[in-house]
């Protein structure tokens, strides 16, 4: 421009119109000024664009780095790898001198160097750790704030971890936070002063945030992987077969046991439909497939406790199957656990069988029935299922074994006939046992056969039967041994090739030997059969021993019963003698009672004989005789009252009127004694069901007794009252009372302490009260008197009973 103005100036000097020239010159000068201004504007613009460009470029770099780090987060499931990739990316993209990443170990109060990239790479040692309390890193880690120092010489928090770091001029630490927790620190260092701008801080913070998320994800992922491995290890090591199927019933996963079970590698069967893997017996026949479908539909777990099926070898197997839906029902994945519980199921079946058989054996205390039950258990299909069973018992000397009982066929034809019959009528073990009929057993061929069996234990001590008896062990005698062994002299008769011999044991006693064979279907006798047979024989032995003990107890019981009978007879004899004594006492008493009137009668009769002519005297004597005879009759009547078994003739009566009658009857007695009668009768007495005549007699006896107790006179009180359970009559005298030592005897016939009387009165009254289901008791106090209390219950005596 300068040149153009100069040129115009020169042009003006060369003679061009000076006005125009000047004008042109001004214009040019304006132009130049404009031009210069524009140029400045342009350069400013250019600078701004450059700045913008650089900023954009940096942003792009940052974005690229962030993208790289972000991609790294996706690419690396391993935290270590990811962190390393991120650190490298930062260092490369921003051209930092050195980038390090520390992870915070709160438990150790330390930060640990996880990854490093840049200038100090060789200087820092792997696994380097430093305290949380030191350095710019430590500050960022503990406060959770970024810290920038562009001149570390001035920064007291700067910490020089290794000699090379002394060249550091600038350092920036940014925390990596998950939530509020600082998980790590990004540390950037430079050997230049003022190396970092605020821009670096914000970028690194963005990176830190991104890393935080990624680290968390990666850690979660690691945990998940660990968990998965853990689960897989568990699944693989489970003692059950475990498999997972999807909605389409294709195999997703299977453990080793399942693979072994189906005989394939997991890789071969993965993705295959279940139906091509599991046997149709289990899937269809046992209904497993339906259950699986049902579980997938419902989403509810299902447990099939005992899935029975026939396995390849034809044996019946039992499986425990558990179906567990996995995840959400939409996924439709199903965990299937199959456990082979055949062994357990068999053991349970055997136990149950032994229990049943034990129960049957405990039902009887009859030896023959027990033996039959044992043999039925040995031979019945639902039990041990041997073809035949024999019981041999030792004789009394223990020298020989004798065949006792047997169950089973003798010939093949009979065997088929029996089995066909049993097959037709499906009968349980219990029914078979209950069919026991001793007389039918007697008639069977095999029973006839067994009855002929004799075996001398003495002569063949080494034979199996002797050893069974001696060692109380179960033996299986195999094909060859049957012929060889002398013990089986009836091998030919029994036509068997193999048999089992078990002892019948009760505690330490050996009761006999049980033989069992499969003579007709030739089924081999296996270990399990022997075990069951042994156990069964033990049970049977105990039951038989119980039966024997019971029989002995019964014998004892018989003896006891006989002893009791003898005792009772002895007792009856005693009672009879007691009665004789009583009768003797009675005789004495009666002899006195009778002797007096008899002597009088006889005396007067003799007198009459001597002087038959004195008519008036004969008359008076005769009247005396008549009176005496009447007295004799009275005594006799009293005795008869006591012994006569006639019961009361009852009707509803008012006891008060009975009492009145009795008192009336006792009137003559009252005249003999200076005793006054006091009556206290309850006017509201309920009627009772009694024989009025008998009760009257009973009361009269007690009243007379009371009178005789008071020869010196006094009051005799007769009272009636109603009580809760009956009507009570009490008769109180004021005599001397009854001495305690004779109180027990006052109701005994012919027992009397009195001069007069037969000793029958109170006894008769007691009998009357007994006949009325009533009571009589005496309350006596010596020197005061005695009260007799007679009670008649309201209840109506049972008809027909005395």
């Amino acid at each position: 421009m300068d040149n153009a103005t100069d040129y115009v100036t020169e042009l003006g000097e060369s003679g061009i119109d000076p006005g125009a020239h000047a004008q042109l010159l001004d214009y040019l000068k304006q132009l130049e000024a404009n031009l210069e201004r524009r140029s400045e504007e342009l350069s400013a613009l250019q600078r701004r664009y450059k700045e913008l460009f650089e900023a954009e470029q940096k942003k792009t770099q940052e974005l690229a780095m962030l993208a790289e780090i972000g991609e790294g987060a996706l690419a690396h499931h391993n935290v270590d790898d990811y962190i390393h990739a991120a650190v490298t990316a930062m260092q490369r993209n921003f051209n930092y001198f050195d980038v390090a990443l520390f992870l915070v170990d709160q438990s150790a109060n330390e930060v640990a160097l996880q990854s490093q990239s840049g200038g100090y790479c060789r200087a820092a040692q792997e696994g380097y750790r430093q305290s949380l309390d030191v350095g710019i890193v430590g500050w960022a880690a503990t406060t959770g704030e970024a810290l920038l120092s562009n001149n570390v010489k001035e920064e007291p928090r700067f910490y020089c971890a290794f000699p090379e770091e002394q060249r550091t001029q600038s350092e920036l630490s940014v925390p990596i936070k998950i939530g509020n927790i600082v998980r790590g620190v990004i540390d950037v260092q430079s050997q230049k002063e003022n190396a970092f701008a605020s821009r670096d801080v914000s970028v690194l913070q963005t990176v830190a945030d991104q890393m935080a998320t990624a680290i968390e994800n990666a850690q979660l992922y690691e945990q998940m992987v660990l968990l998965k491995r853990f689960s897989e290890t568990i699944v693989a090591s489970l003692p059950s077969a475990v498999l997972v199927v999807d909605r389409e019933l294709r195999l997703v996963l299977a453990n080793r046991i399942f693979c072994e079970e189906v005989g394939s590698e997991e890789d071969e069967i993965r993705g295959q439909p279940l139906e091509s893997i599991l046997s149709p017996v289990l899937l269809h026949d046992a209904g497993l497939l339906d259950a699986i479908r049902q579980t997938i539909e419902s989403g509810q777990p299902l447990w099939l406790g005992d899935v029975a099926y026939l396995c390849g070898t034809g044996e019946e197997c039992v499986a425990d199957v558990r179906l567990t839906p996995l995840g959400t029902s939409n996924e439709g994945r199903l965990l299937i656990t199959i456990r082979d519980v055949t062994q357990r199921a068999r053991q349970i079946a055997q136990l149950s069988l032994l229990h049943d058989m034990g129960g049957l054996l405990q039902r009887s205390l009859d030896r023959d029935r027990l033996l039959y039950t044992l043999l039925t258990c040995i031979t019945a299909g639902p039990a041990l299922g041997f073809n035949r069973g024999f019981v041999l018992l030792p004789d009394e000397q223990g020298e020989n074994l004798r065949g006792e009982m047997a169950v089973g066929p003798v010939t093949v034809e009979e065997a088929h006939r029996i089995w066909a019959e049993v097959g037709k009528r499906h009968r349980g073990l219990q029914d078979l046992v209950e069919a026991f009929a001793p007389e039918q057993i007697e008639m069977t061929d095999i029973q006839r056969l067994v009855c002929g069996m004799r075996f001398s234990l003495k002569e063949s001590p080494s034979a199996i039967l002797s050893r069974v008896m001696r060692e109380s062990t179960t033996f299986r005698v195999a094909t060859d041994a049957v012929r060889r062994d002398l013990c089986y002299p009836y091998g030919d008769v029994l036509r068997t090739q193999e048999f089992a011999a078990a002892p019948l044991i009760a505690g330490s006693r050996i009761l006999g030997v049980v033989l069992a064979d499969n003579a007709f279907n030739q089924e081999p006798i296996v270990e399990e059969d022997l075990k069951l047979l042994t156990t069964l024989c033990n049970q049977a032995g105990l039951a038989i021993s119980n039966a024997i003990a019971h029989a002995q107890i019964e014998d004892h019981a018989d003896e006891l019963a006989k002893a009791y009978q003898r005792l009772r007879e002895a007792h009856q004899e005693l009672v009879r003698q007691e009665k004789l004594v009583t009768v003797g006492e009675m005789a004495a008493r009666v002899s006195h009672e009778i002797r007096n009137p008899l002597a009088t009668i006889g005396g007067f009769a003799r007198s009459m004989l001597k002087n038959p002519d004195d008519v008036s005297r004969v008359k008076s004597d005769a009247s005396i005789i008549v009176e005496e005879v009447e007295e004799l009759e009275g005594i006799l009547g009293n005795m008869l009252d006591l012994t006569r078994p006639s019961g009361p003739a009852c009707r509803l009566e008012n006891v008060n009127s009975i009492v009145e009658h009795a008192c009336l009857m006792a009137r003559s007695d009252f005249q003999k004694y200076p005793v006054s009668l006091v009556k206290q009768l309850d006017d509201y007495l309920p009627e009772v069901f009694v024989d009025a005549r008998q009760i009257q007699q009973g009361l009269l006896n007690v009243i007379r007794n009371g009178l005789q107790a008071m020869p010196e006179g006094g009051e005799l009180t007769v009272a009636t009252a109603s009580e809760e359970d009956g009507v009570v009559v009490s008769i109180t005298d004021h005599g001397e009372g009854i001495p305690p030592d004779v109180r027990d005897n006052i109701f005994t016939p012919f027992y009397t302490t009195k001069v007069q009387g037969t000793g029958l009165g109170l006894a008769v009254t007691r009998k009357i009260m007994d006949d009325h289901h009533g009571t009589i008791e005496a309350q006596s106090e010596e020197g005061v008197g005695t009260t007799f209390i007679l009670k008649v219950p309201y209840t109506q005596p049972v008809e027909g009973t005395p």
Binding site: A588, H592, R595, A599, T600, I601, G602, S607
Partner: protein
Amino acid sequence: MQWSGRRVGDTYFKGDDATVKTVLVVEDHKHERILYERELTAEGYRVILAENGREALQKTQEERPDAVVLDINMPQMDGLEALGRILEAHHKTPVIINTAYSSYKGSFMSWAADAYVIKSSDLTELKDRLREALSRGETEGV
């Protein structure tokens, strides 16, 4: 005592008041009293009667009988008790127990009696014992 000095043969002398023996019969039973009175009077005794032990004791003291025929089972005073009392006061007077019971024979008290007769319609034994007792009393009295 009051008969001391008399001869044996006098016992059988009848009709003479001095030689007629007095016999006390103790018996609660009315009819028996009548019988004994009649029979013993026919034997030649003077018979006095008592119904019970107490009366017997009283009559013994008043009448001084030569012998007592005593029943044991009686009201008021038991025969054995009466025997004791009688012998206490008049230990020489012969007492013959006349009872329906044989069981009192063993009683200590009855040993004190001169004789023990079980009642019978035949009074021969009673009469014999009575005669013996009276003659013994006479002999002793000599």
